[in-house]
Amino acid sequence: MEKLAAFFLALLLPAAAAPAGTLLLRGATVHTVTHGTLTPGDVLVRNGKIAAVAPKIDEPADTSIDLAGLHLFPGLISASTDLGLVEISSVRGSIDSQETGQFTPEIESWTAVNPDSELIPVSRANGITHFVPVPRGDLIAGASGLMAARGWTVEDMTVRRRTAMHLFWPDHSLTVPGPKASKKTKPLDEQARERAERVRTIDQFFADAEAWEKRPAGSPVVPAWQAMLPVVRGELPLVVHAQGLREIRAALKWSASRPRLRLIIEGGRDAWMLATELAERKIPVIYSEVFSLPSQSSDAYDVQFRAPSILQKAGVTVAITESSGDSASNQRNLPYSAAQAAAFGLSRDAALAAITLIPAQLHGAGDSLGSIEVGKEASFFAATGDILDIRSEVRRLWISGAEQSLASRHSRLAERYRTRPTPPPK
């Protein structure tokens, strides 16, 4: 029992072995995210952590690297993905992103991350240093972890085992008669009853979890309820996956009666319509719908491009992710979702924060990741230009002070076939 409790409470793992000594990066344009941009600036790393950031650092270092002409960014953090859980999305044997059952809070996504997934180096090659694999399911799917995009084993990679609990809010739409509906389609009223029932089911589950909290010490352990304790106590955020206006509204309404919950909305296609309320209640949004098509023919063509800007200007904290479909193989395009939001109203700084600092903060690593500032992990990369610009190339990348290879399945195949001798004519 004590052992289990310790297991659940010790969320923050000891940092993986960091390279000893000091590293000085000189002359890059440093995009700190928290303290503006240094053009140029120097960054000093000691024992894997950032020791100093300044226009000029004269301190001698064990290693000194000239990054003149390059741009230094904090490592990109994918706030929600199935990277590591899915290798090939049409091959069932390679998919570990979804469980069965409506309430599986004891699920922890880090446990199924494949350290040797070919998809991880591909993502890293474009600046992704950390990612949050999200378990999917019906209603309460489990907890996401925070992973570094490097390590020999899954334990090496895991930064935090539990960063948030994930609740997939039930779809409120009705199945109406039509070509898609089967003959067994239930009457609308009955569907509406079932819909309300599903929300009640969620509510009851949380009521039961709260009741469990008050059980006397020494009661038998039930892993699922144990996993819910930090959620109902507000120690672990609850990420509610909801896209439509009514689903988000329903989630907000439901959570209002449980003020201890630390809500985050993920997906958030229509969240911009509720920007004021989200801002007032300080509920952040992890927005995945930049490239979704408008849901109504009366919507402007750019409604989804503009949503992050609307939210951010209303005072909502916004992280941006790649869209959920096939997200594992497309993580390298994360900065371009943010870039699209930036082209349509979001400030460039906010767009960059939406894929660095904010994901770190939302997943409990705001004091160690997400920006280039003193005391944080030395997880950053040097690129030939603005990382929001597709044409920029990532040249070097460090995670907790250790430089990482940028080679991947893709670079290896490219190299191999680029050097294929031209065959003689047949």
Partner: protein, 989 residues
């Protein structure tokens, strides 16, 4: 003065006759008027005089206080001063209005209209395998008949309602009660459905009732098996399963019917020295339609199919009529151009009650528009100068006909047109105008008698109808009053008689108000906010960075002049050369590029992207099913896209024919097509064609491995070569005619170099083998699509001369793309392959420029060359570079104005121009969205007011369900990559 015609005695459907029928005896037909045998009720005298009625002789022509003399089932005279024959029974018609008997031009009796015997058991249908390939052979593992059973053939032209008509007398009674006296009874299943029969509604004895045995041949241009079937995805479907497949089947069937006739004639002249021809009853039955001696009634599943039906009619020399879809308001221009009569149902959708106010959020704007517009559809067709006949088709009960027709009148249909649509027009269309349609001497004595006003007055009622001189009194009043639907159900003890609706008698004003609200159109004309924003005689861009994608490369501070839609000059242009009235674009820092071209799109296709049933569907054509109404056109224009190669999916080794369009938003499907673009066809290799990811129900169709794919291609190309040889031989030497085979004809075009192959291809082994097979037939492949491992065999591709149209960076979504790399484009280009990037997605196609930028990032393609991946190169691959793809004098004025560097994510598309016309501009797009939102809110307010209240309270469940049915053309195109399998996806909302 009845014309001297042979006449049959009219049997009153009395008990004696019924008893005879019940006894299974044959009723003798009398060739003269003699007394009935003893025991029968003797026939009464058949002369009637209807006096003092208001007689509507024909629409708009009336006689007051007139007398109609009926004799022997015909109208003998109509006059205001006729002498009444002595033997006439005199009927006082004071206070009534008398119309020519109403005709329902499209009566579907549904399941209740019991067929006398399953006709399929009597006549073999067309084996649809014969419609797909040469020599009548099928493809193993590919069912070509629904559920594998002949009884479900979709091609049954031989089905004659005349043979099977056996109505339920109660159904006829219900129709008579609404004033109908005759109807055209239609077949209602399949694609080529069979012939309708024109009947009198006075008798349920088919021999008595049939006036014209074969009225029309019926053809439905709709997605087959649209009816919900939950298990559809787990089992192979039969050909055709897509709208484009249906159209191919219709064409092949008519060619087969014509061939059979020619072949039979040849056989008759050469009875001993050639093989005996096969004889299909079904094809024989199609001949009258093929020879224009029988009209064809098309039932389009989308209003865009009206246009398609017209083109089919021109190609096949048919005499077409249309059944209206109810959506014609979307494109009045196409209806006017069709210039054919429409049979128009009045089964308007009605707003349902939704469980929760928020449920309205999910209702698509288009559904609200369709609901709002529907009652105006009949008037709209009249305004377009078309003849219309009205029908009860689609109504749950005929009793709803009059109230819905009244709604149509409130929306502008004139009463006289409405009466014509029930009398003269259907009589003419059905070929019975010499017998029915107006009140004139010599016509059959069919009359519809209304009391208490005119037919469409709210308070009026049908008093009686006369059918061939026999009177049928309307259902007694007390039956009707119980339930306004006329639905005198037995009391259900568990269901109190609608206690929640206390009739609110104190609020007649409210009811009227709601009726008026429903009658008023809220929506704007469908095409109001579509089409070009600007169509100036000339466009002048004063100074911009111009990426020509042509010989001039990228030019700074350059000007561009477009006159009459074509590029006149670029570079330095003297102010004097700019014509007066030119639209001038003069903003700092802008970049101008050619319009983006997407070499692989599945957007803007209705009724299925794949004809996924057969391994070769070369006969189907995407060009038949272009969706000009999709919102995706606007969204893709907003990303600078101007040209798209609409491709069939990749479900089969030989797919369907492609269609290259320009995104001229607002144009008709034909207007979208890029004239002169060479024909093409989709091929595919690998996992999709061997059905790897289709489920366990798909393990029989050939091929199931990559070994089978080249075998299959070789087989079909060999067959096509032999087919072409046979045709040539026939042309040279004569002899037995050769059946036209649309599949092999298409493949023969490929062999002749007249059709470009666009082949979905992934793995290097299959790519090389495919190229070699094609080379063995002397074919150069147009493009290899996706071509994910093309970088491994770039030299082979370059030597073959195929283009490569790749994904920029997609990978790992299937096993066969595990080796896909984003450097592929750059590597292939370096080795001499012509490279383009495509989207395969209605999302990615909105940012082709940014896909191109990935070629700069991965593998270092120079920027100007990268831009060509989405401009000049796809134009060359598609054979349309004479007109588009680069900015050069003489080419089309297709260009995009960007806020900055086109490969920079910070830039946005500000304007998109096609043919020198502006189709997209950011501010206009926002204004359009705002206006649409206002409209949506107005429609929502109206719908909520009317939901489950007021006049709609009487609406049927069917009408409420209909509200949810999205039109085929409105179902959103899909967002998918490699969409090839997702033939179900278009239904996704």
């Amino acid at each position: 003065m009845p014309p001297p015609m042979m006449k049959k005695p009219r049997f009153p459907a009395g008990p004696a006759v019924a008893a005879l029928c019940a006894a299974g005896l044959v009723i003798p037909l009398f060739s003269f008027d003699g007394p009935l045998p003893p025991g029968n009720r003797p026939l009464p005298a058949s002369v009637h005089a209807l006096v003092f009625g208001r007689v509507v002789l024909s629409p708009g022509k009336e006689l007051d206080k007139a007398t109609i003399i009926l004799s022997d089932g015909r109208i003998a005279a109509v006059t205001t001063d006729a002498a009444i024959p002595a033997d006439a029974q005199v009927h006082d018609m004071t206070g009534t209005t008398i119309y020519a008997g109403f005709i329902d031009a499209h009566l579907s009796l549904g399941k209740k209209g019991a067929l006398r015997a399953d006709p399929i058991e009597e006549d073999p249908p067309v084996d649809s395998r014969r419609l797909t390939s040469g020599a009548g052979m099928g493809f193993p593992g590919a069912p070509s008949l629904a559920n594998g059973s002949d009884a479900n053939s979709l091609v049954t032209p031989q089905l004659r309602i005349a043979r099977t008509y056996n109505p339920d007398p109660e159904q006829l009674k219900a129709l008579r009660a609404e004033g109908f006296t005759a109807a055209n009874v239609v077949p209602d299943r399949g694609v080529i459905r069979g012939t309708s029969t024109f009947v009198s509604l006075g008798s349920s004895d088919p021999d008595e009732a049939i006036i014209r045995p074969d009225t029309f041949q019926h053809i439905a241009l709709n997605v087959p098996a649209e009816s919900p079937d939950a298990d559809r995805r787990d089992q192979p479907e039969a050909y055709p399963a897509s709208l484009m497949g249906v159209i191919a089947v219709v064409r092949q069937s008519f060619f087969d019917a014509q061939f059979q006739a020619v072949d039979a004639a040849h056989f008759a002249a050469n009875p001993t020295n050639r093989p005996r021809p096969s004889i299909s009853e079904a094809l024989t039955a199609l001949l009258p339609a093929a020879r224009k001696s029988m009209p064809v009634l098309f039932e389009p599943g989308s209003m865009l199919m009206v246009d398609r039906a017209m083109q089919l009619s021109r190609e096949l020399a048919l005499q077409p009529l249309m059944l209206a879809t109810g959506q014609e308001w979307r494109r009045p221009d196409l209806m006017r151009a069709a210039a054919v009569p429409f049979i128009v149902p009045v089964d308007f959708p009605e707003v349902p009650t939704l469980p929760d106010d928020d449920d309205w959020l999910a209702v698509p704007t288009d559904q609200l528009r369709a609901w709002d517009q529907a009652p105006g559809n009949p008037a709209l067709l009249r305004r377009e100068g078309l003849d219309i006949a009205l029908t009860t088709h689609g109504l749950e009960k005929p009793q709803q006909f009059r109230s819905n027709a009244r709604l149509a009148i409130a929306r502008g249909l004139t009463e006289s047109d409405a009466i014509a649509a029930l009398t003269t027009v259907p009589a003419r269309l059905c070929g019975v105008a010499d017998q029915l349609g107006d009140i004139a001497s010599g016509k059959l004595a069919n009359l519809t008698v209304v009391e208490n006003g005119r037919y469409f007055d709210p308070e009026s009622r049908i008093r009686e109808v006369w059918i061939e001189g026999q009177i049928f009194h309307a259902t007694p009043d007390d039956d009707k009053k119980k339930n306004p639907d006329g639905n005198a159900k037995p009391e259900d003890p568990d269901k109190p008689d609608k206690p929640d609706k206390p009739e609110n008698p104190e609020k007649p004003d409210k009811k009227k108000e709601l009726e008026e609200l429903r009658a008023k159109l809220t929506d704007a004309p469908a095409q109001q906010d579509r089409g070009p924003l600007l169509s100036p005689p000339a466009v002048f861009i004063k100074s911009a960075t111009i990426w020509t994608s042509g010989p001039q490369g990228r030019i700074e501070n350059a000007s561009l002049l477009i006159v009459d839609g074509k590029i006149k000059a670029l570079g330095t242009i003297a102010p004097n050369d700019v014509p007066k009235g030119a639209h001038v674009i003069d903003r700092p820092d802008i970049h101008v590029t050619p319009g983006m071209i997407d070499c692989h799109s599945h957007s803007m296709i209705i009724g299925g992207v794949n004809e996924a049933t057969l391994p070769s569907t070369a006969m189907v054509r995407v060009g038949d099913v272009v969706n000009s109404e999709s919102e995706t056109i606007h969204q893709q224009l907003a990303g600078g896209l101007t040209v798209a190669n609409l491709l069939h999916g990749s479900a089969n080794p030989i797919g369907g024919q492609n269609c290259v369009i320009k995104l001229r938003e607002g144009a008709s499907p034909e207007g979208l097509k890029l004239a002169g673009a060479p024909g093409g066809i989709k091929f595919a290799l690998g996992e999709n064609v061997k059905q790897s990811n289709w489920g366990d129900g798909f393990r029989n169709r050939f091929p199931q491995s990559r070994m089978g794919v080249p075998a299959f291609h070789t087989n079909r190309f060999t067959a096509a070569r032999q087919y072409a040889d046979a045709l040539a031989k026939h042309q040279r030497d004569g002899g037995p005619p050769v059946r036209r085979d649309l599949e092999l004809e298409t493949i023969a075009e490929i062999i002749r170099g007249e059709r470009l192959i666009h082949c979905h291809s992934y793995r290097q082994d299959e790519v090389i083998v495919f190229l070699r097979v094609m080379e063995s037939f002397g074919v150069r492949v147009g493009t290899l699509q996706h071509i994910l491992e093309g970088y491994k065999v770039a030299d082979e591709i370059a030597r073959h001369g195929a283009g490569a149209s790749a994904f920029a960076d997609w990978w790992a979504y299937k096993l066969e793309v595990y080796d896909a790399i984003p450097h592929a484009g750059s590597i292939m280009r370096e080795r001499g392959v012509l490279v383009s990037f495509n989207s395969d997605s209605s999302d990615l196609s909105r940012r082709m420029n940014l896909e191109a930028a990935k070629a700069v990032k991965y593998g270092g393609t120079p920027e100007e060359e990268a831009l060509k991946y989405v401009t000049a190169n796809p134009a060359r691959q598609l054979g349309i570079d004479k007109w588009v793809g680069s900015l050069e004098p003489g080419k089309d004025g297709d260009f995009v104005v960007w806020s900055g560097h086109p490969l920079d994510t910070a830039s946005i598309c500000q304007e998109t121009w096609i043919d020198g016309r502006q189709y997209f501009e950011t501010d206009a797009a926002h204004r359009r969205a705002a206006a649409r939102n206002t409209l949506r809110n107005a429609l929502l307010a109206k719908a909520k007011t009317l939901a489950g209240d007021g006049p709609e309270d009487a609406a049927s469940d069917k009408a409420r369900d209909k509200f949810f049915r999205r039109s085929l053309e409105d179902r959103l195109s899909i967002l998918c990559v490699d969409c090839c399998l997702d033939h179900e996806m278009p239904w996704k909302n």
